[in-house]
Amino acid sequence: MHQMHGAGETGAVQPAIELRGIDKRFGAVHANKSIDLKVEKGTIHGIVGENGAGKSTLMSILYGFYQADGGTIHVDGRLCDIKGSEDAIAVGIGMVHQHFMLVEPFTVLENVILGVEGGAILREGVDKARGELKRLEREYALDVNPDAIVGDLSVGLQQRVEILKALYRGAEILILDEPTGVLTPQEADHLFRILETLKQQGKTVVLITHKLREIMAATDNVSVMRQGEMVAHRKTAETSPEELSELMVGRKVLLRLEKGEAAPAATVLEVDNLCVETSQGVRKVKNASFSVRAGEIVGIAGVSGNGQSELLEALGGIRAVTEGQVLLNGQDVTPGRGVDAAELRKRGVAHVPEDRHRMAMVTSFSAKEAAILGYEDDASYQKGLFLNWHAISDATKHLMSEFDVRPNDPDLKAANFSGGNQQKLVLAREIMRDPELLLVGQPTRGVDIGAIEFIHKRIVAMRDAGKAVLLVSVELDEIMSLADRILVMCDGAIIGEVSAADANERVLGLMMAGVDPHEAKAAEGQS
């Protein structure tokens, strides 16, 4: 940030990108509401916002992946009609997508030249490309073996290939969508050094992220998005993480729930040194140890993608555990060692997963079919060899009226309920079984305000009924208003615990960014 060159001083230089009134709807979802944005040439410009704020949609429009419903795009002061990726490439825009757009069995070189091969026969272009690639690698410190197979490279190196791809196409403007979501901290640091080099070479970088630490460390300017709107533009040097987080979240009315003191009793869930790996062998949960007692809600806070999802799925019996042990009421129920989701359900573990559509329901099923998922073996639903649809229908009606699911029609297709009603149906299915332990992930994602309050009340009611609840949420408000104890996860590890009484957004935010809990509290004390 010591180099404040560019448009700010001269004033005459046109912004690298200017968006005016960009508007985009996906069906009922208004993803971008008349967005204005200016990105100065030769700067690193951050765009922050919560999940679903519309950042990725905006950038996909800029890159021609989607078409805006309204508004204009100006690059270097010229009005551009970007209909597809090829148009974006032509005006010098390159993009590194959140999910890499690489052909894994190809070499680095092949990936780089795809689309700009420089001739019908590869030979002609390849030699030139190799030289050009060498130059780019030297210039931007992006070393990677051009003949390596991309699928064999680490995620960090794959990302470099994506950057090389953009640069090779002559990108002057580089958009990176959540680039550090998949990187280790060391790889992320390296990436920021690369971005700094790019800036020094006069390139413009747009960095989309929801991690404030990265914004503060790497950008010159920052724009904040919330619920499809652009709410603020700041110079990074003149703002603070506190201000940004307020802007991101907005002054939402805190849904502080009236709830009594928790009365924790015996330990229900005991997790000891748990490790979970993906099928590619990436360690997502690192030596997590904690317990949940009857009559308390334990919240797991953390920036999305820090291992919470995997932890929850492992505890629900969907993912095998690599190391460690899970005890339920003192009995070993470690998933993957002879224990699966069905077995856990039988032992009183209910699970409301994070992703409704992918996991919690079959959207082509009717409500009553959705209402027995996971419990289809239950004796009360059987009549001899057959399912007792009368009983199921009645039970579903009961669930639906208990949880105020509208319309109260067990025969309606699950896909035709609103998000809030779908979620209430899933919660009803899991909670009304009277489980010992409720695992619940992002209970109010994509749910309307009215339903949020209802869902929160039901979760607290579970606790008051003496059940153990483990809540995973990326919404800090939700965690703070529901949980009695809060664990913070960062990079797969549980880095600390805060009691609900001591918790505030700032301390949790710092911990979520990986700051040691004691330091976080000390920093809090000073301010």
Partner: protein, 372 residues
């Protein structure tokens, strides 16, 4: 959730498939025209051949029997998200089960033989489906290719067995011995005669009744048991199945084995009911017709029954065609079959967006009118 309104059931499972079917028939008509014949005449002959005289009915339903079995077979696997292209092979091997039971357990009385034959065909057919199913569930080999391969393997195996094992001493034709008279499935016209009713003789036999029973059983199984529920969950969303504790591999194997058994029941009709011995290639492509039948019938037993009836009619009427119009053989029926699969299966989405748009516009306009 989205821009468009959900289509009502009558359009979704009624009008759209009918539209696709209609298109298939129109194209078939064009084929007839191209050959230089009149489509109306062809339809006339087809209908006469299928229903115009008393035996015709029996023949039509005899073909229908095969198609119900193979259509149900395809549908059960399909509900689990699998394409079982192997009905031919599974039926062929199922025929082996029937003939072995009928020839080597010929001391059994008929009612017991009936059960034994059903079990034998089911076991042989299910076993033949088990290997591709296992490979899909546990080793990820795609069931489409393996079942196709297994059709050919079954064909070679059966030819070998017919030539070297089952062929009676001294016979030159590669076919098995005849099933003893009292162990054959009774013809419907014989049963009717026993009840004092007179019916024209046809190959229609007791297996038709069993096919109807199987339709009901499949309907009950898929929509009214927890296993059917699990199979449908795996087929619709395997991740949700895992979440629910439904292990997909287990149900893939279960669905494929049931599918194989249903295919094999076709052998009851052909081997035990009509030909009374095992012939080379007795499956005659009926397994593939099952794909068309199931796709057209939207994988529902009732729809399958209707589609099987249509194809039964086409097969029987098609035989008549070749007598009446020398330039048109019953290959016309195969053409129609291909077109039906093409339009109701592969291009099922062709009209949907347009119909959805029209319906949505109509629906919104009507709502606006009501509001006004």
């Amino acid at each position: 959730m989205s821009d468009s309104v959900q289509l009502p059931r009558w359009i979704d499972v009624g009008a759209l498939p009918l539209l696709n079917l209609l298109l298939a028939l129109v194209v078939s008509g064009l084929v007839v025209l191209a050959i230089g014949e009149r489509p109306t005449q062809v339809v006339e002959i087809l209908l006469y051949g299928a229903f115009g005289y008393e035996e015709a009915w029996g023949y039509t339903l005899y073909y229908t029997t095969n198609f119900i079995f193979t259509g149900l077979a395809f549908a059960v696997a399909f509900h689990c998200g699998l394409f079982n292209i192997g009905a031919e092979g599974q039926a062929y091997v199922g025929g082996l089960g029937v003939i072995l039971a009928a020839l080597y357990l010929d001391f059994l009385p008929f009612p017991i033989m009936l059960i034994v034959a059903i079990l034998a065909s089911a076991i042989f057919g299910a076993a033949w489906a088990y290997i591709p199913a296992y490979l899909q569930a546990r080793r990820g080999s795609h069931v489409v290719i393996t079942t196709i391969m297994f059709n050919f393997i079954a064909s070679s195996l059966m030819v070998y067995l017919l030539v070297n094992v089952l062929r009676p001493q001294g016979s030159m034709t590669p076919e098995s011995e005849q099933i003893a008279e009292h162990l054959r499935l009774p013809f419907i016209h014989d049963i009717a005669a026993g009840l004092g009713l007179e019916m024209a003789s046809s190959p229609l036999n007791l297996s038709f009744v069993y096919a109807l029973v199987c339709s009901v059983l499949v309907w009950l199984f898929i929509w009214h048991t927890r296993w059917g529920y699990a199979i449908r969950t795996v087929g619709a969303n395997a991740v949700a199945a895992t979440y629910a504790g439904i292990e997909p591999g287990r149900y893939i194997i279960m669905a494929m084995m049931i599918s194989g058994a249903l295919s094999a029941f076709m052998a009851l009709n052909e081997v035990m009911g009509v030909q009374h011995r095992l012939l080379i290639d007795f499956t005659a492509g009926y397994g593939f017709v099952g794909i068309a039948v199931a796709l057209m019938g939207r994988n529902h037993p009732f729809g399958i029954f209707l589609a099987a009836l249509l194809f039964g009619m086409l097969y029987q009427g098609g035989a008549e065609l070749s007598f009446e119009i020398p330039t048109i053989s019953n290959d016309m029926v195969v053409v129609i079959q291909g077109l039906v699969i093409l339009f109701t299966g592969a291009m099922e989405h062709m009209f949907r967006p347009r119909v959805t748009r029209i319906y949505t516009a109509w629906h919104l306009r009507r709502r606006a009118q009501e509001a006004a």
